[in-house]
Amino acid sequence: MKAIQVKQVGGPEAMEFVELPVSQPKANEAVVKLAASGVNFIDVYFREGRYKAPLPLIPGSEGAGVVTAVGADVTSLKAGERVAWAGVQGSYAEYISAPADRLVTIPPGVTDQQAAAVMLQGMTAHYLSHDTFPLKKGQTALVHAAAGGVGLLLVQMAHNVGARVIATVSSDEKAKLARAAGADEIILYTQQDFEAETKRITGGRGVDVVYDSVGKTTFEKGLNILRPRGMMVLFGGSSGAVPPFDLIALSQKGSLYVTRPSLFNYIATREELVARSSDLFSMIKAGKLKLRIEHLYPLAEAQQAHRDLEGRKTTGKLLLLP
């Protein structure tokens, strides 16, 4: 099968387009022929070695496709079924062998591309807004990178629940997208200081929660705009990892909460995985969650996909098509 492989960590050029054998499923696995694979920032972290994985590595942890074979112990799936997943390494390929209990069925009314586009970022937006800090009507959330993959979904979900959303973005074009997704206030952080602006917008009160996937360049200021007993939800590090911080600052700045969640811990059981993905698929079918699938690349052009993602030119989802 064709696949993308990283033999040594590095920049986008570390990803090679290679021919590999299709693996046989283990007893608890199913083989899926991919229709589409989702590109996520976490793929960049594995490719560049920020997150460690054994090499050689096939990047990509999200996709959708059709089951072609099942292992001896698998009774819940059969060949021909459409499934999707997040958190299964090896998705930048034509085929993947995945544990059956990590695969969810795609319902009619949701396309393969929609499923591949929504699993990782959608379940991330879902757990962030429903569980990590369950947003309630009337609360105010600050969402960084609001026009990004998770950002646009998180803004929509926050808006749907009746929360007020302050969105930070880097361009006018992204501002338009964030507004269309339901953001109430937009801060162009490249032109304005988001700390000062947020204080102004909230009349000095601050926000209830900061959802921060940017990390290094935004974390400290984020602590300054939280209302007392508010929460910093650090779920990514696109500008770099946040260095160790002093806890006393949290008490001085308002007895603040900090959490650094990861999707894996919010879909740890099959029950939770199925519940979250079902919720997402329902939202898509009901038109409550709009996916922006703007950037489609052939699998062979994975390098360009990473360049575009890291260049911060993209909005919404990037998909690789085998």
Partner: protein, 322 residues
């Protein structure tokens, strides 16, 4: 009036009994004749300069007494009222001046010693279980220093809620006190590794919440004893301040939450302050909350009180009588 004053920060000996002028109230302040002053760890942090304030100063944050003078705008208290307070610097004295909003009425059923002993520790234990992490019946809480000032009240309140309490203490004597307070399990951490013990006591799953006023000495192991998405509430630092924390650890150890709290943010409005003091005084009056007063000292012996507090052999509240 007689008062303890600190001219230079340092050890307990820097606290000197002196004659100073009785303070005069500003329009929104009242003067209180102090019957009993409470001793708290935070007094030591101001005395040794870890927390800064202008020199010279009168230490002490907590007490109970009778209002002796009121400023022209004061509405909520009158001369002769029995009141108690926390968060008012200057309490190690025969009289203290306070903004009116910090003074709460003391019910007739509560003695001055009980009121002074219950303000900081009682309000702290209360906010910890009702708000910092809203403790639920059936959850398991790890309470460090379970025989200490806050610890012994935390244990009682947690049990009243129906949570299971695992307490840690430094000696067999204190273990007995922690059991008397209601702890279901007690770990003498000088003899056993609390990490291994908590894992054993929770079938490897860990606890939902850790309430920790110890800080440095327990921090790393605390991260290992919580269940997935558990909460660490750090409300003190009796063993020293925790070193800067790498947020990545929070995700590695199970998408944990962390808060570093201080009482002021949980009694920020008069409404909240009165709700908490009513609850705490109510529990004491009903016999549901026992506040152990370990020792009472004349005001002049404040240095000895601090020595005893810092030696950490005391289990219970220390009080100063002007």
């Amino acid at each position: 009036m007689k008062a303890i004053r600190v001219h230079n920060t340092g050890g307990p000996e820097v606290m000197k009994l002196e004659d100073v002028a009785v303070p005069q109230p500003k329009p929104a302040e009242a003067v209180v004749k102090v019957s009993v002053a409470g001793v708290n760890s935070i007094d030591g942090y101001f005395r040794d300069g870890r927390f800064r304030t202008l020199l010279p100063f009168i230490p002490g944050q907590e007490g109970a007494g009778v209002v002796s003078a009121v400023g022209a705008q004061v509405k909520t208290v009158h001369v002769g009222d029995r009141v108690a307070w926390s968060g008012v610097l200057g309490s190690y004295a025969e009289s203290v001046v306070s903004p009116e909003e910090h003074l709460v009425p003391v019910p007739a059923a509560i003695r001055d010693e009980q009121a002074a002993a219950a303000m900081v520790h009682g309000l702290t234990a209360h906010y910890l279980v009702t708000d910092a992490h809203k403790l639920k019946a059936g959850e398991t809480a790890l309470v460090h220093a379970a025989a200490g000032g806050v610890g012994s009240l935390l244990v009682q309140m947690a049990r009243a809620i129906g949570a299971r309490v695992i307490g840690t203490v430094s000696s067999d004597n204190k273990a007995q006190l922690a059991r008397e307070a209601g702890a279901d399990e007690v770990i003498v951490f000088t003899k056993q590794d609390f990490e291994a013990e908590v894992k054993r006591l929770t079938d490897g799953k860990g606890v939902e919440v850790v309430y920790d006023g110890v800080g440095k000495a327990t921090f790393e192991k605390n991260l290992n004893v919580m269940r997935l998405r558990g909460m660490l509430v750090l409300y003190g630092m009796s063993s020293g301040a925790v070193l800067p924390v790498d947020p990545a650890k929070l995700s590695e150890k199970g998408s944990l939450y962390m808060a570093r709290t201080t009482l002021a943010h949980f009694t920020a409005t008069r409404e909240e302050l009165l709700a908490r003091t009513s609850a705490v005084f109510g529990m004491i009056a009903d016999g549901k909350l026992k506040v152990r007063i370990a020792k009472t000292y004349p005001l002049a012996d404040a240095p000895q009180a601090h020595r005893d507090l810092e030696a950490r052999k005391i289990a219970g509240k220390l009080l100063l009588i002007p």
